[in-house]
């Protein structure tokens, strides 16, 4: 497999585009297409998806035929922990409140870099919480609770 794909970057981009196109085509099956005069809601998305599929195929074939750039390895720590930090924030915000959500995001996010020292991280979390509460809760009046709901 490795030897036959000459431009991994192009090949995988092609795959990605085709997958996106397929997802939109399959998901949009039920949408009325209409006619060219009276286009239905499904007309343009289907058209765009078909073109995307063609472009994806071009990319894919180019990746097979032409020698091109490879894909740099993914470093898993940031790739997993940065999104996780944001998810943690999103899940906790409603019932744990702003401060706890920020603490979670800071500590999970900080782990994206190995050997994160504890004390500066704690200071950062405290500082960011104070700033955010002042700015967003009191300043911009975001409808969130500062502390956990159940307290």
């Amino acid at each position: 497999m490795e030897a036959t794909i000459k431009g991994k970057q192009d090949f995988l981009s092609g795959l990605l585009f085709i997958a996106i196109a397929l997802a939109f085509i399959v998901n949009g099956r039920g949408l009325p297409l209409g006619t060219a005069v009276n286009m239905g809601p499904g007309y343009i998305p289907l058209g765009a998806a078909l073109i995307l599929a063609v472009l994806g195929t071009v990319c894919l074939v180019r990746g097979l035929v032409h020698a091109g750039a490879g894909v740099e390895p993914v470093s898993w720590r940031p790739f997993l922990l940065v999104p996780l930090a944001v998810v943690a924030f999103g899940i906790s915000l409603d019932w744990l409140g702003l401060v706890a959500a920020i603490f979670l995001a800071v500590f999970v996010g900080r782990a994206a870099i190995p050997r994160a020292p504890l004390l500066p991280t704690l200071a950062l979390a405290v500082g960011l919480s104070a700033l955010s509460v002042a700015l967003f809760y009191y300043g911009f009046k975001l409808p969130v609770s500062v502390w956990p709901r159940f307290l």
Partner: protein, 503 residues
């Protein structure tokens, strides 16, 4: 001329309101700040701040956002010159001759040349915007659905041609954007499309969390993998700040040429600060009598691109203000900000909201003046910012991304949208697919669909009208010519050369 003056005075009256002055200052300051800080750029900053602009009056919101954009051009060059760290992509070129000047003990003059060239370019570009925008908007009022559709096609093709990297991928990214733009309730029938059953998606995927994910979180994840080099600062030679006569004699004309190149490229679809600076460096080297000296601290190699990136940043507002067409991702964000305020972008904005448009145009000049004042005396302070460790900075960016995504609709759903697009954006970076065309497709897709559908209805399903209307045909022909041109081997080489100049 009378109209020109009354427009400018209306703009001055708006921009000089104390609150707007403050917002202009905040924007310029923030822009300089993120321009200096590597790892966060104007795009991510503007995306994160978009939700906040919702609480501001429209003119103040746009004035602040614009300030971030051109402020970042100033800030980016400071670190490029002093530490060889381009804070922004548009200041990569300044690391060549600017840093070399600093190495030769002429850091002060280099910074002054950069600031003065930028200020000169900013002044000229402001006038160009003020002169050209109304004329263009007037013409645009006569555009039919067909013309609009074809113009948007041209805009998107332009964005592809100007993008670096593979053309096929860039076009594909546009279609990904168009598909994402189709999510939500269909305007004509009221049927929900591609909502996957989420009621939150009936209004479409919000642009802000997408931008935060693609330009904020994704960049951050990619930045974290790079080894951090501690900035080495050049602190000598800051005392003698003022450029000498030679700098003026050679840098002056270069700044004028850079301003012209930048202004022209900024107006073009797909143009903007980045392309302008690269192109100006190429121009300067080509016309120079000593091209071999470039890269050793030649003042033209600094003054030209510095003027160009600022001019390009500003004139790229012209298509956005007059036609509602974003020429780059930053302008897509500006359009997003307008929509948040309930303003439909398009040529009617100029006539319906003159105070907003002219206030913003004049604020650019005021902002440029502020930037010279913020930058030159405070250089020492800004330089210290380079020492801010990314390991602390990135955590702050994460938190602000979270709150920004939430704040747009006060909905946790948008936070998850941001995460999804962060991961998607990271994959795109790995595959070397530029996210900017996606942003343009996302903004333009729904407008194009509306124009196409209405146009086809009016023409009874006959697509040939797009080719028989003179304006529409012209736009399509130019678009086709551009596409053919990129395919031509000679231009392809040239394009590669322009973009790789700095490598």
């Amino acid at each position: 001329m009378d109209a020109f003056l009354s427009n400018l005075s209306l703009g001055l009256a708006t921009a000089a309101q104390p609150f707007n002055l403050l917002m202009c200052f905040v924007g310029a300051l923030l822009g300089t700040f993120v321009g200096v800080l590597p790892g966060i750029g104007p795009l991510a900053t503007m995306a994160i701040l978009l939700p906040i602009t919702f609480y501001l009056p429209p003119d103040s919101a746009l004035i602040m956002l614009a300030g971030i954009y051109y402020g970042a051009q100033y800030g980016g060059s400071t670190t490029a010159i002093l530490a060889r760290l381009p804070g922004e992509t548009s200041s990569i070129v300044s690391t060549l001759d600017g840093y070399q000047m600093a190495m030769k003990g002429r850091a002060g003059p280099a910074l002054a040349v950069a600031a003065l060239a930028s200020f000169f370019a900013g002044t000229v570009a402001t006038l160009i915007v003020a002169l050209f925008a109304p004329a263009l908007a007037k013409v645009a009022l006569y555009f039919t659905d067909y013309d609009y559709f074809s113009l948007m096609v041209l805009g998107l093709v332009g964005a592809v041609v100007m993008a670096r990297g593979s053309v096929v991928k860039a076009i594909a990214m546009i279609f990904v954007g168009i598909l994402l733009g189709s999510v939500g309730t269909d305007v004509n029938t009221g049927i929900g499309r591609h909502t996957l059953g989420f009621p939150e998606l009936l209004d479409g995927i919000n642009f802000v969390p997408i931008a935060i994910g693609l330009f904020g979180l994704a960049d951050l994840m990619a930045n974290l993998e790079k080894p951090r080099e501690q900035a080495k600062l050049k602190s000598t030679g800051l005392r003698a700040l003022w450029p000498d006569r030679n700098d003026f004699r050679k840098g002056g004309p270069a700044a004028v040429r850079g301003t012209l190149v930048g202004s022209a490229l900024g107006i073009l679809p797909g143009g903007g600060a980045v392309l302008a600076s690269f192109a100006s460096y190429a121009v300067e080297r080509r016309i120079s009598s000593h091209p071999e000296k470039f890269g050793t601290g030649v003042v033209e190699g600094l003054a030209g691109p510095e003027a160009a990136n600022n001019a390009g940043a500003q004139t790229s507002f012209i298509p956005m203000l007059t036609l509602g067409l974003p020429s780059n991702a930053v302008m897509a964000l500006m359009i997003g900000a307008m929509m948040l305020q309930g303003i439909t972008p398009g040529p009617q904005v100029m006539t319906e909201r003159p105070a907003l448009v002219w206030g913003m145009i004049v604020s650019m000049w005021i902002g440029n003046l502020m930037l010279v004042v913020i930058n030159l005396p405070l250089i020492g302070l800004w330089v210290q910012l380079v020492r801010v460790r990314y390991e602390y900075l990135f955590v702050m960016i994460i938190v602000f991304c979270c709150i920004g995504a939430f704040g747009i609709n006060n909905s946790v759903f948008d936070v998850f949208v941001a995460v999804a697009f962060g991961v998607f954006g990271y994959v795109l970076i790995k595959l070397d697919c530029e996210p900017a065309p996606l942003a343009l497709g996302l903004i333009l897709g729904p407008m194009m669909e509306e124009n196409l559908r209405r146009g086809m209805q009016l023409s009874d399903g006959d697509p040939s009208v797009f080719f028989t209307r003179p304006l529409s045909l012209t736009f399509l022909l130019v678009a086709a010519a551009l596409l053919l041109a990129v395919a031509a081997p000679a231009i392809r080489r040239e394009r590669k050369e322009v973009f790789n100049e700095a490598d």
